[in-house]
């Protein structure tokens, strides 16, 4: 550790429910350096950041040296500030209704015991600070009236002010600034002016840890780059020594050949109960559809996306986070309004912009949403109340809900979907994430749907449960459902899917099939499709729409 090292992190591991997501990570940040951190979704990037910010407690044994302090315990929320580490997250944490000055002073309001605010003095100091970074912003302007890039600049300046406020030596102006995908929503011009700001921050003696999905951006900005893969730091190198393709190779892992047979099992998965999965009630006629086709889907985040999927097929939908693939299934299901587009289901045609969840369900479509705890389940209600919601009407006859039958039926669904424990009366929130998700799958698959839409179905799910979930999905497809599987985890998408649609910058970049369904090909298509050019200007309006 040299005298210029502002932050040194060693032996950082993190385990969730027995699953290790970060293994013995090491990171060193020098004064004056901009350090890029890259890795695909699930590589451990955000876990690393959240350990630094005190949101997660690392596994014992880690060592952190920063701000002249040596720490081995988990950080508390106030600690990073005292260690001279400031964060700017994707959502920036700014308040649109307040002025620039009020936003800059937010942290002070939270801590300061002084009963009086000298507005004139604060305004002068803020103005000086802003202009020292060549920022021409009026401290009295409402933040919401500023352009996205200016809002990001305010967030960064506020983070810098924290170094000063939190330090024991009152004039500390340098520290570690962590930008967690804070440029995702900016256009090219915005990104460049932000880069200028970050370079002068680094030149003033701070270190910048810059997290982004955009490899070109990282290589253009950072002095050094650290690549995470599967929770391991696989490389830290000067960015001058790396090419774009090198980084993609490191992110995806060159040795990872896709083993299609791994999970594409026609072998039935055994559930805990010993029941073969999933013998869903075959007595009820299912919706039969041979083909689903989406034509010209337009929305706030996507442009003219078209694709087809056939009966019995699992179609993966993926791309870089923020490229728009996240919204496609919500549009099809009517959960988020689309602007335009047509959906062909067999012989019938529907306007996607007029779709509603209720209508989608009537057409035999179901969706497993991405935000399980908000959209998927009601944690404090029981498994039965959650799982049996779509079939309540069937359980109501001769004047009342047949609760005993519902309970038995629910238990059956839980067993068929390997939910452990299969106790209908238990609050669903007491189950592990994997079991919650299996219950959500059971809730929808019991309808024997014609189209199954899965939005990041393995988020927050441990490895063991993932296997079962893949088995359930494959089984649904084998029984004749059309399955659309949207996920940002390329390894997983390529394992599960028969074909993959890759979205970049809101447009369809490529459709991969057969032996081309590999994480490498997906990565190549995703990053190749990301061209920051003139039509990003249009894109930036589109993203600024998201911010509001």
């Amino acid at each position: 550790m040299t005298s210029d090292t502002l932050l040194s992190l060693r032996h950082l591991s993190k385990t969730f429910n027995g699953v290790r997501v970060l293994t013995d990570a090491t990171l060193e940040l020098q004064a004056g350096e901009i350090h890029g951190l890259v890795g695909q979704n699930g590589s451990g990037k955000s876990t690393l950041i959240k350990c630094l910010s005190g949101y997660h407690s690392p596994d014992p044994g880690w060592e952190l040296r920063a701000g002249g302090t040596f720490v081995t315990r988990a950080l508390h929320p106030g600690d990073p500030a005292r260690l001279g580490i400031s964060f700017v997250h994707q959502d920036l944490g700014v308040i649109g209704d307040m002025t620039v000055l009020e936003n800059l002073l937010l942290n002070r309001f939270a801590k300061d015991r002084s009963p009086y605010i000298g507005w004139r003095k604060e305004r002068r100091e803020a103005k000086e600070l802003l202009s020292s970074f060549d920022l021409d912003l009026d401290p009295r302007a409402k933040l919401g009236s500023l352009r996205p890039v200016e809002q990001a600049q305010v967030a960064i300046i506020r983070a810098l002010m924290q170094f000063r406020a939190s330090s024991s030596d009152a004039r500390r102006t340098s520290g570690v600034l962590v930008l967690d995908e804070a440029t995702t929503f900016l256009d090219q011009a915005g990104r460049e002016s932000l880069h200028t700001l970050l370079r002068s921050v680094a030149a003033a003696g701070s270190a910048v840890l810059f997290v982004s999905h955009d490899i070109a951006e990282i290589l253009g900005l950072a002095d050094r780059v650290t690549v995470l893969r599967d929770g391991l730091v696989v490389e830290t190198a000067a960015s001058a020594d790396l090419t774009h393709d090198d980084v993609i190779g490191l992110i995806v892992g060159g040795d990872r050949k896709v083993r299609l047979d791994d999970l594409r099992s026609d072998v039935p998965v055994q559930a805990d109960s010993g029941v073969e999965l999933p013998l869903l009630d075959r007595d009820r006629p299912r919706h039969a559809l041979t083909m689903l086709e989406v034509v010209g889907l337009d929305g706030p985040h996507i442009r003219q996306v078209s694709f087809k999927a056939a009966r019995g097929e699992i179609l993966g939908i993926t791309g870089i986070v923020g490229s728009g693939w996240e919204f496609i299934l919500e549009h099809l299901y009517g959960a988020a309004p689309a602007w335009d587009g047509r959906l062909h289901l067999g012989e019938q045609t529907f306007e996607i912009e007029a779709m509603k969840p209720k209508r989608a369900l009537e057409l035999g479509m179901v969706m497993v949403p991405s935000e399980r705890l908000i959209q998927g389940i009601i944690p404090e209600l029981t498994l039965e109340e959650n799982v049996m919601l779509p079939v309540l009407d069937r359980a109501f006859y001769r004047g009342r809900l047949r609760r005993k039958e519902m309970r038995l039926r629910c238990e059956e669904v839980l067993r068929l979907h390997a939910v452990s424990p299969p106790e209908p009366g238990r609050p669903i929130g007491t189950l592990s994430g994997g079991n919650q998700q299996k219950a959500v799958l059971g809730k929808w698959l019991q309808l024997r749907p014609a189209v199954v839409l899965l939005n990041e179905p393995t988020q927050g799910v441990d490895v063991g449960a993932r296997q079962l979930i893949f088995g359930l999905i494959r089984e649904a497809a084998n029984q004749g459902a059309i399955v659309l599987y949207a996920s940002g985890d390329w390894a997983e998408v390529s394992r599960v899917s028969d074909r993959v649609v890759v979205v970049a910058d809101g447009r369809l970049a490529e459709t991969l099939a057969g032996d081309d369904v590999t994480p490498d090909r997906i990565a190549a298509a995703s990053y190749r499709g990301t061209r920051r050019s003139a039509d990003m200007a249009k894109g930036s309006e589109m993203w600024s729409g998201v911010r509001q």
């Binding site: 988020a336 209720k358 369900l361 009601i378 809900l401």
Partner: protein, 365 residues
């Protein structure tokens, strides 16, 4: 390997839960037990006046309007919406009946029907304003309630009105069944209806789902807006009905008396959520809470405590009920958050930002 660990983990959780199931009798019937203790204490203190059949029959019957008002609240609260206009509707409904019957010669049955219809209309207005304009029900129903209070003063010219048809009074308090005034039985019948609705109909389940998870409900194809509006209408109808019983109890209507029932009704519903069906706004718990609270006040009045004790009792009970609920807490949820299973939305714009004033019992079952 990790499957095994997962298994073991689940079993520990399981046994811990079993332990809690064992305690659940106390949790479920805690308020009932406290109620029994209160009865015993006052019986010992005032053996000649408190534990008498006339005292109890008065006590049970006289609180029917409050009980019905509590049942009215159970519905929108279950759907996740506050309704602060219930007591105002009760008050207007009773005044409307008195005015129409005594000053305009409208038959009392027709007047009563109009009172109930008025409740439905106000409930509809509440619901439509909240849902269509997407405004916080707390503030909407507060405003609508105050507006209705103004109407009450207007039609009554701010004076109490007495002399309502004896037929109504007979049907509410004079006629008895099993020694108790009919109004008590009306309350029981309505409680059965509300209980049946929530426990034995798909619609009742849907109301509960809408109240606990709007997004889950929407994505499960429920008509969230319609359900919310209809639960306001149901609450208005029951409040109007409570007004009928209220005016029938005394044969007269007072332009301000009824609104004082708002806080006791809330206290009863929230306290009721800590008992019988723990963690849910439920009709039987509400009735138990109504009678627990009024027994306490009745007893205190008998041992000679001043009337301000009513306010102390209702206010204190409401705060303590809510406090108790949140102390029981949601351990399972907290654990899930600590384990990092609560994922932060990345680029997903919030569809329905959670309302800051969504009513919650704060208890897990």
């Amino acid at each position: 390997m990790s499957d095994n660990r997962e298994e073991r983990g689940n079993h520990t959780v399981l046994s811990a839960r079993r332990g809690r199931y064992g305690e659940s009798f106390l949790r479920r019937f805690g308020v009932v037990i406290v109620w029994a203790v209160v009865v015993i204490v006052f019986s010992a203190a005032k053996p000649h006046t408190f534990p008498t059949s006339s005292n109890f029959s008065t006590l049970f019957a006289s609180q029917a309007p409050l009980g019905i008002l509590g049942l009215a609240l159970v519905i929108p609260l279950s759907a996740g919406d506050y309704d602060l206009s219930v007591a105002s509707i009760l008050n207007f409904s009773s005044m409307l009946i008195a005015v129409l019957n005594t000053q305009h010669g409208v038959p009392v049955l027709a007047a009563a029907l109009l009172g109930i219809v008025f409740g439905a209309v106000v409930g509809l207005a509440n619901g439509l304003i909240c849902v269509l304009a997407d405004i916080d029900p707390f503030i909407v129903t507060l405003g609508v309630g105050t507006f209705v209070d103004g109407l009450t003063l207007w039609i009554s010219k701010s004076a109490p009105i007495s002399g309502v048809s004896q037929n109504l009074v007979n049907g509410v308090v004079i006629d008895r069944f099993l020694g108790l005034s009919l109004e008590f039985w009306y309350l029981i019948i309505l409680a059965v209806v509300v209980w049946y609705f929530f426990d034995f109909t798909p619609s009742g389940r849907r109301v509960l789902i809408v109240g606990r998870g709007r997004e889950v409900a929407r994505l499960s194809g429920l008509r969230v807006k319609r359900i919310r509006v209809l639960s306001f209408v149901a609450s208005g109808v029951l409040s109007g009905l409570a007004g009928v019983v209220y005016v029938g109890t005394s044969g007269s209507a007072d332009p301000s008396a009824g609104t004082a029932l708002l806080l006791p009704a809330f206290a009863a519903v929230f306290l009721g959520a800590t008992t019988i069906a723990v963690g849910r706004f439920n009709p039987w718990g509400t009735l138990v809470a109504v009678y627990f609270l009024t027994t306490g006040i009745n007893g205190l009045a008998q041992i000679g405590v001043s009337t301000f004790v009513q306010q102390l009792f209702y206010g204190g009970a409401l705060v303590i009920a809510v406090l108790l609920s949140s102390l029981v807490g949601r351990p399972s949820l907290r654990k899930a958050k600590a384990a990092g299973q609560v994922t932060q939305p990345a680029a997903v714009p919030p569809g329905d930002p959670p309302s800051g004033t969504r009513p919650s019992t704060g208890i897990t079952t």
